[in-house]
């Protein structure tokens, strides 16, 4: 146990920790803080559903039943906004000057046949419609979503999206089933249809959590490699290993080092995940822990499986910890075949890059029908392939490390 603690002490060097803290600060200020701020802004006024989806969640809880949908009266709200838009358009010279006095006339104006126009007419038409759009969108408030939200046109768009998702869900899922041929995605769409797409999971919740976890995941894996690498070759570089191997206890040193590396990887990844999750959960995300991710929002499936948002976050964390541990195990194996630190670095750098590419291509956007591993490689036939891949890699890494460490107990020192 004492040897294990000494090995841990070697790994958790304050110099390496200072380097990792500097990296973490860079990642936070450059990427993650912006993600959190964007989520906060989008949550209130700027997302595809504006504040309406959250308002429904506050009012009706995690699921939306048919009587609750009727109570919210989306069509009534849309009709009221159209009336507001009619008044606005009727009093604006830009619209009345082009013979438009209601919202319906504006829609007709916009949907004119453009193919029949010559170049000059088309340019003039494009210019006018652009000016109208900018006016309706309150474009001068582009950097203030709260002010932009005062536009009835903006609110109308949000309510139409809401209506499309919760009232017209059968039509949307029908379209989806017509084009989707991957078995797991088809099954997910059928389940959503069977439960009337009743989950009130916010539209931008999964995207934010998934993008955020990708940055954290890649950082954790690379930082783990930076953390554990220097201690792995130290004994060989200082020619202490012949001394160690002359005793029974010393012969077990690689196993102890492996245990220290694996524990360090797990602890470090848990600390990093905990710290980054705390920042994310300062938003309203924790309120949605119990909401189901199996939902179709705005024509796209949020998650292929019946899991809650809390479980989704837990699975993301488990995958990051598993990959971090795997990276540490493979670094341990590669370092075993290096006699000095630069030799180990030359091997561990490609390993880190390989994990980076693997994470971005196979693990990011997990449990989503667009995930590359799920869609392009396994053609949607396997349930949760991202998690399976992480488990298989972790098992392979652990096995390889244990074999290397165990063989060393009987190895000849030349």
């Amino acid at each position: 146990m004492r040897l294990f603690l000494y090995e841990l002490k070697k790994i958790w060097s304050w110099r390496v920790l200072a380097l990792l803290a500097a990296f973490a600060a860079l990642v936070w200020f450059s990427i993650l803080r912006g993600d959190v701020q964007t989520y906060k802004t989008l949550s209130h006024y700027a997302s595809s559903f504006g504040p309406y989806q959250r308002e429904m969640f506050d009012k009706y809880g995690p699921t939306l039943e048919s009587e609750e949908l009727a109570d919210y009266d989306i069509s009534g709200k849309i009709a009221a906004l159209e009336g507001e838009l009619d008044d606005w358009i009727a009093s604006d010279p830009l619209f009345t000057g082009n013979g438009i006095s209601t919202y319906a006339e504006y829609e007709d104006f916009r949907s004119q046949d453009r193919d029949s126009m010559d170049k000059e007419e088309y340019e003039k038409f494009s210019e006018i419609t652009m000016q109208m759009d900018r006016k309706l969108w309150l474009d001068e408030y582009w950097n203030d979503p709260k002010k932009q939200f005062t536009s009835p046109y903006v609110r109308l768009g949000m309510l139409s999206n809401l209506n499309d998702t919760y009232t017209e869900y059968e039509r949307n899922i029908g379209h989806y089933l017509e084009y989707e041929n991957q078995p797991v995605a088809v099954e997910a769409a059928r389940q959503i249809l069977a439960k009337h797409n009743n989950s009130l999971v916010p539209y931008n919740l999964k995207g934010t959590a998934s993008g955020y976890s990708t940055v954290v995941g890649v950082f954790v894996i690379l930082a783990t490699l930076l953390l554990v690498s220097p201690s792995l070759t130290r004994d060989r570089a200082r020619h202490i290993h012949p001394l160690q191997y002359s005793s029974t206890v010393g012969r077990r040193i690689l196993l102890i080092q492996w245990a220290a590396v694996t524990v360090s990887a797990c602890v470090f990844s848990l600390v990093a995940i905990g710290a980054s999750a705390t920042a994310l959960l300062t938003t309203d995300m924790s309120a949605y822990f119990g909401v189901s991710m199996l939902s179709m929002n705005y024509g796209s499936i949020q998650s292929l499986y019946e899991i809650t948002f809390g479980q989704y976050l837990l699975l993301l964390a488990v995958m990051i910890v598993l990959l971090s541990m795997t990276a540490a195990c493979f670094a341990f194996v590669l370092a075993k075949f290096s006699t000095n630190i630069i030799g180990a670095v030359l091997k561990i750098v490609p390993l880190g890059l390989a994990f980076w590419v693997l994470y971005l291509s196979a693990i990011s956007e997990p449990f989503d029908p667009r995930n590359a591993l799920f869609r392009s490689i396994l053609h949607g036939r396997v349930v949760m392939p991202e998690l399976i891949l992480c488990v298989v890699l972790a098992a392979a890494g652990l096995l390889a490390a244990v074999i290397v460490a165990a063989r060393e107990r009987k190895a000849d020192i030349l």
Binding site: L19, S30, G343, L346
Partner: protein
């Protein structure tokens, strides 16, 4: 003599050679995957468009101010930041006028499938290659700089005057091996590319006429200087090798300046990560001098290799930013390497 011994150590290092071979292997795999992913010719080529477009003089009457305004709108810029973007594109207008006036270079705009190859070669493959050779150069320089320390021969070497100067041949050797590895990786990867794809372009035609449009955008491909496709390829390779040599200088400065080999590696990685991450940070607004100056760093240049020799989108305020960045950072890294070398010559070895 010492130079050749140092060169031999690096050239015959199995790890460095394996890494170079691994880079080529990765590029081969990438190109094979891309080849499978490319749609059949018939589905992307638009012969009618191509024929019609051959007669359209794309630069005649083209206003670069429109590009500026589209960026200003896209990034929601105003004030001096917007004005700087306008000023840059005003300077680009004479280039467009000159291209419009030159009659002998045929415009083959919208030539069907060109875009796919353009993106693949200049937007992806050469970007990966530049990054790979940069990394190889950095690691080779670290290996060279920290070699004696790793082997425990430092006290013996530094006992003599000649030994105290040994880092200089090591620097020359690492620069030479970086150039050699770059040539190997670029040569092998391009050989694979041209073997796998039928990249039949008029090599002597103006690059702005041959390429469909700027990568990922709808504006034409406008280079500040008149370059043929062949010249453009060579120039891109040149900047890539230049950046690799810059990385070699950085690795050498870190390896020589810091006593710990791992500390040197960590410092070099930290510098490169800071270049990249700060360039992404939202606190640097597009159109600001600081954003543009920060973008001259090797990491930003690598990430935007497809825009070299062109306007560099809204992020860049200066013409020929890639040459400017390469010169500035090479000078900075060379100064750091030189400083580290002189410090080492006077350092106490414990």
């Amino acid at each position: 003599m010492i130079f050749f011994y140092e060169l031999k150590k690096l050239v015959l290092s199995p790890l460095i050679l394996s890494l170079a071979a691994l880079c080529v292997l990765v590029n081969l795999t990438f190109l094979l995957v891309e080849r499978d992913g490319l749609e059949p010719m018939g589905q992307t080529a638009r012969p009618a468009d191509a024929v019609a477009a051959r007669t359209v003089p794309i630069f005649e009457g083209y206003r670069t101010a429109d590009i500026a305004e589209s960026y200003i709108r896209w990034y929601r810029l105003d004030g001096t930041n917007a004005q700087r973007i306008r000023n840059k594109y005003d300077k680009l207008q004479p280039v467009v006028d000159r291209k419009a006036a030159v009659g002998e270079k045929p415009p083959v705009y919208f030539s069907g499938r060109m875009s796919d190859f353009q993106v693949l070669l200049f937007g992806k493959l050469l970007k990966f290659i530049s990054q790979e050779i940069g990394l190889l150069a950095l690691l080779a320089a670290l290996l060279a700089a920290a070699y004696e320390q790793m082997r425990g021969t430092e006290p013996v070497i530094y006992a003599s005057k000649t030994g105290r100067r040994v880092q200089l041949p090591k620097l020359y050797a690492s620069l030479t091996v970086s150039a050699l590895l770059s040539v190997f990786v670029i040569g092998a990867s391009l050989l694979i590319f041209f073997a796998l794809f039928n990249f039949s372009v008029p090599w002597q035609a103006d690059v702005s006429s041959v390429f469909d449009h700027a990568l990922g955008e709808t504006k034409p491909f406008i280079t500040w200087h008149d370059l043929t496709v062949a010249e453009y390829l060579w120039a891109t390779i040149g900047i890539g090798i230049g950046l690799a040599l810059g990385c070699c200088l950085l690795g050498f400065a870190a390896g020589t300046g810091l006593r710990s080999a791992y500390g040197a590696f960590g410092a070099a990685v930290f510098v490169l990560a800071a270049f990249d991450l700060i360039a992404r940070a939202p606190f640097l607004p597009v159109g600001s001098i600081f954003k543009s100056a920060w973008g001259l760093n090797p990491m930003w240049l690598w990430r935007n290799s497809g825009t070299w020799f062109t306007d560099g989108r809204a992020d860049m305020l200066w013409a020929n930013f890639e040459t400017l960045g390469l010169c500035a950072y090479s000078a900075a890294f060379a100064a750091a390497a030189w400083g580290a070398y002189h410090l080492l010559r006077r350092r106490e070895i414990h």
